[in-house]
Symmetry: C2
Subunit: 212 residues, 2 copies
Amino acid sequence: MRIAVLGTGEVGRMLAGRFSETGHEVVIGTRDVEKTLLREPGLQGRDLKPLPEAAAFGEVVVNAYGGTGTLEALREAGAANLDGKVLVDVSNPLDHSQGFPPTLFVKDTDSLAEQIQREFPAARVVKTLNTVNNTLMAYPRQLADGDHTVFVCGDDDVAKSVVSGLLLGFGWKDIFDLGPLANARGLEMMLPLWVRLYGAFGHPNFTFKLVR
Amino acid sequence: MRIAVLGTGEVGRMLAGRFSETGHEVVIGTRDVEKTLLREPGLQGRDLKPLPEAAAFGEVVVNAYGGTGTLEALREAGAANLDGKVLVDVSNPLDHSQGFPPTLFVKDTDSLAEQIQREFPAARVVKTLNTVNNTLMAYPRQLADGDHTVFVCGDDDVAKSVVSGLLLGFGWKDIFDLGPLANARGLEMMLPLWVRLYGAFGHPNFTFKLVR
């Protein structure tokens, strides 16, 4: 598929690489191509484009911006370039302004995923992968041979199927459909435990298995 | 050990029964013994006492009240009867007033466990078991032969050891020490996902394994 990964941080670089590796055509979107290449020379030779062009290219658009930058980046990508697209949101509404552990700037009665969906009503938002570190997102089998769970939620079943297919391509074995996008509240609210476990372990190579 | 279980709802009855079964002396605390027996005739013959007497009896006191009733019940039990005691908090700050799924009445920058600790500073509060249904609390091996995780957190290491011992007695295999009591924020914030999974499954016989 044609996949646009928006964001050139660790998550975006990891996902873009893995999508390429699993056979997709990938464009990486960033605000300023030249500045990004100065900051991340490893992206030389990759198909790096301004956000609107990248989003326009993608059949699937992945938001790999951090939570605080997400809505602004998607606005810059442009609603017209997101309409009808599967918009995969892997971000978390983490507020790092008070140090570690971060808190959540939206929670409980709303979620960042829903904020995105409200602002881009014609996009087909699917929340997923936000409960794992970027390496596990892309290479789930490197921990316990993939015997753990990734969640998807969203209001568009076809979009969830597309995303589940991409996750299978990454090697995910246990993909759990949590239902409508409002249930992203539950997924984003796992982060306060996640960040504390990260603090306890000193590394992010852990996750959860839904035992049932 | 001498264990006081405060609360006669499903959680309290389940835990009291399991503590008895695993060899402890158990007293169940309730506001009004007579009314409780009318409501729960199954408690006939059990050692049911008013909250202050029950708490006074226990070396370990378990708060099995629902989140909204917790602080009031502990006040009625009396600070003097909780001082120095291991106070096990299994409750969740669920606000059911707006229907299903419930929201949390404290979260992110505070937790119910911390509220308890602040109000009863001489109690040795340990948060645990709040992420599983009452049957799994007491009989963890009935799901996946117990191959899943229970968390403990608290500011008193000896109290956490006591609680871990009690959990081993219930059959828990994987007891994870999450550190100080402030990390109860992470445990309580798992509930928004838990309640949605409960909605999806239609039963509470599921839980999480921390894969690492």
